[in-house]
């Protein structure tokens, strides 16, 4: 019996490979953004693409996010499939008007005659020691905008599969890349034919019976770690990785909560007006009679993103998650 040598790969490498494979398969795929060409991106996610496909296919643009996304709209109008890199979460804000007023609604405005197949890659989230405007979790802004898909991978394999799906999608996709997972490694063979993950399906990362942790992106590994630690407390936690915030997979989430009867939503984004409120409401509306306790949220504090020397107090960690699990009214069972 022979085994294929599977080398560990990083999420950044999987993302690069996804763009490379998409560009090779489809000449209309164009990568554009700040420093994506010669440098290969500040996170090196576009490394080698300009060299392999030329600067017309992987283009260093002027430093102007609205211009980048606005010209990508025009390119998509003409039949191209732009993959736009926003260098950091907080640097994507100048592009909001293009995103909200045009990208998200051009299909709707034109009764489906002018869809915009644009992928907007946004490195997001904290935990890398970035200063000030380099660590935002901006997903709540995006998921509040109808017409966008909002996707975020948590594993190396998903980074590849979901990015391929995003680029192939005929709708605009905001593709949120958890930057602190860029260098996470996983056994993933980049030379094997890769699967494209459908957008809109959550996945159970860890099965458990006691309670469900509902999470996504950078918080998935934290929740898995918390689930391991929870075994010492006698809790067997299930971890659901949403992968896609829009569309939202009510089915997988609710099936899990109905099994466990308890749920905690975990994300870095602020709690007030954050995705957790919507998720808790959806779960409560659909699973009320299965719930043993209110759905709780473990989120970032409702503060501007803190300076790096204080960010560990802000980010949801194992202890804060376990503390929330402990408040899920277990006394009713004893």
């Amino acid at each position: 019996m022979t085994t294929v040598a599977v080398k560990p790969a990083t999420m950044a490498q999987a993302l690069t490979r996804a763009m490379r494979d998409a560009m090779a398969a489809d000449p209309t795929v164009h990568v554009m953004g700040e420093d994506v060409g010669t440098l290969g991106g500040v996170f090196r996610v576009t490394d080698g693409l300009a060299k392999e496909f030329g600067e017309d296919r992987c283009t260093d643009t002027p430093l102007a996010e609205a211009g980048i996304l606005g010209t990508a709209v025009g390119m998509a109008m003409y039949g191209l499939r732009p993959v736009v890199e926003m260098q950091f979460d907080a640097f994507a804000y100048p592009a909001f008007e293009q995103l909200i007023s045009h990208v998200a609604r051009m299909r709707n405005r034109t009764r489906g005659t002018m869809p915009l197949p644009i992928t907007i890659r946004v490195p997001y989230g904290g935990g890398i020691g970035g200063v000030e405007h380099h660590s935002d979790s901006s997903e709540a802004y995006y998921l509040a905008t109808p017409g966008l898909h909002v996707v975020t991978p948590a594993t190396v394999a998903d980074a590849y599969g979901l990015l391929r799906a995003a680029i192939a999608s005929d709708d605009p996709v905001v593709f949120l890349e958890p930057k602190r997972l860029y260098w996470s490694k996983d056994s993933w063979n980049p030379d094997e034919p890769q699967s494209v993950e459908p957008i809109g399906r959550a996945v159970v990362r860890r099965s458990g019976r006691s309670a469900t942790l509902i999470t996504y992106g950078p918080s998935v590994p934290v929740c898995l770690e918390a689930a391991e630690a929870a075994r010492a407390e006698g809790w067997d936690l299930e971890v659901v990785d949403l992968r896609s915030l829009v569309p939202f997979d009510d089915e997988t989430v609710c099936a899990s909560v109905r099994r466990t009867g308890r749920a905690v939503v975990v994300h870095e984004s602020g709690g007030f007006g954050g995705p957790g409120g919507e998720i808790a409401a959806r779960v409560t509306e659909r699973c009320f009679h299965h719930l043993e306790a209110p759905v709780l949220r473990v989120a970032g504090f409702d503060i501007p993103y803190p300076p790096p020397m204080l960010e560990r107090h802000h980010l949801p960690g194992v202890d804060r998650i376990l503390d929330a699990v402990g408040r899920l009214q277990w006394e009713a069972e004893s």
Binding site: T71, G79, H102
Partner: protein, 376 residues
Amino acid sequence: MTVMEQRGGYRPSPPPAWQPRTDPAPLLPDAEPYRVLGTEAAGKADPGLLRRLYAELVRGRRYNAQATALTKQGRLAVYPSSTGQEACEVAAALVLQDRDWLFPSYRDTLAAVARGLDPVEALTLLRGDWHTGYDPHEHRVAPLCTPLATQLPHAVGLAHAARLKGDDVVALAMVGDGGTSEGDFHEALNFAAVWQAPVVFLVQNNGFAISVPLAKQTAAPSLAHKAVGYGMPGRLVDGNDAAAVHEVLADAVRHARAGGGPTLVEAITYRVEAHTNADDATRYRGDAEVDAWRDHDPIKLLEHELTTRGLLDDAGIQAARDAAETMAADLRERMNQDPVLDPMDLFAHVYAEPTPQLLEQRAQLQAELEAEGETP
């Protein structure tokens, strides 16, 4: 050891990496708005083109009047009239080839119609039965754009994409004087110049952004001067002189088509009517100013030129007016019919495939309609 000694040299002036990139002189706009009508240049203009421009101006003026009337009858939610600006609207459409693209703002319905769009479909946005009433690909007219200047980067991207594909396509993007203050104006012009994209930017300087005059909008010598900062030529033209606007825009289109890159054209014109039917222009300007511009009217200017030179007689004038009346009657009749609305359309074009959440909401609306007995 001092710092200088460590680095091994000392240079009192900057290294020669910096060089001036472009001689700005050829990019500078004309000192005065370029004119053709009433000047010697008019003699060289093609009489056939002038007569066509005239017919389109008359038709355009009538279209604006009819659309404004439709707002009073409740058939249009709102109409931003381009009365007085017809020369710009018409010339922008006429200088383009069939394969080229037009990127209009919300005041440029007339340009879209002059480009060949159905006059009723062009008013869908303003009637309010949908946002864009036409397939943009059919006549290569992008959706009428309300957020100011945001369509300009689209024009740049489309022209850039066409050039990458090797297609001979020029994009002409329209914006007003107020729109030049927007960030997207700056970013679009900068991208266009860096990419040498085949784009023509037409700024209709009609004097006002709703109520705010140009003096509160910019301190630039002219809006056309802004071109120089981006490294593209700026042109200044009398926006009420249809022959001049056509010539300047046609030059810019030719320049773009030949690979020369973008041009910024500022057309000096005037918004004779209020911002929209919902605006009251008497709050911010006087009659004398408006009257002066009414004397410098695009139709009067061209009619005077054509009749003086014997290129147009009373019968020709009447023929143009009759054609405009026929168009207006057709527009009136069709706009007086109630549009057919399907509430289920609300969910039809949000995504290629509706999300599970939208399917639930669609079912909710369906049930509400059935309860009301309104099922289509």
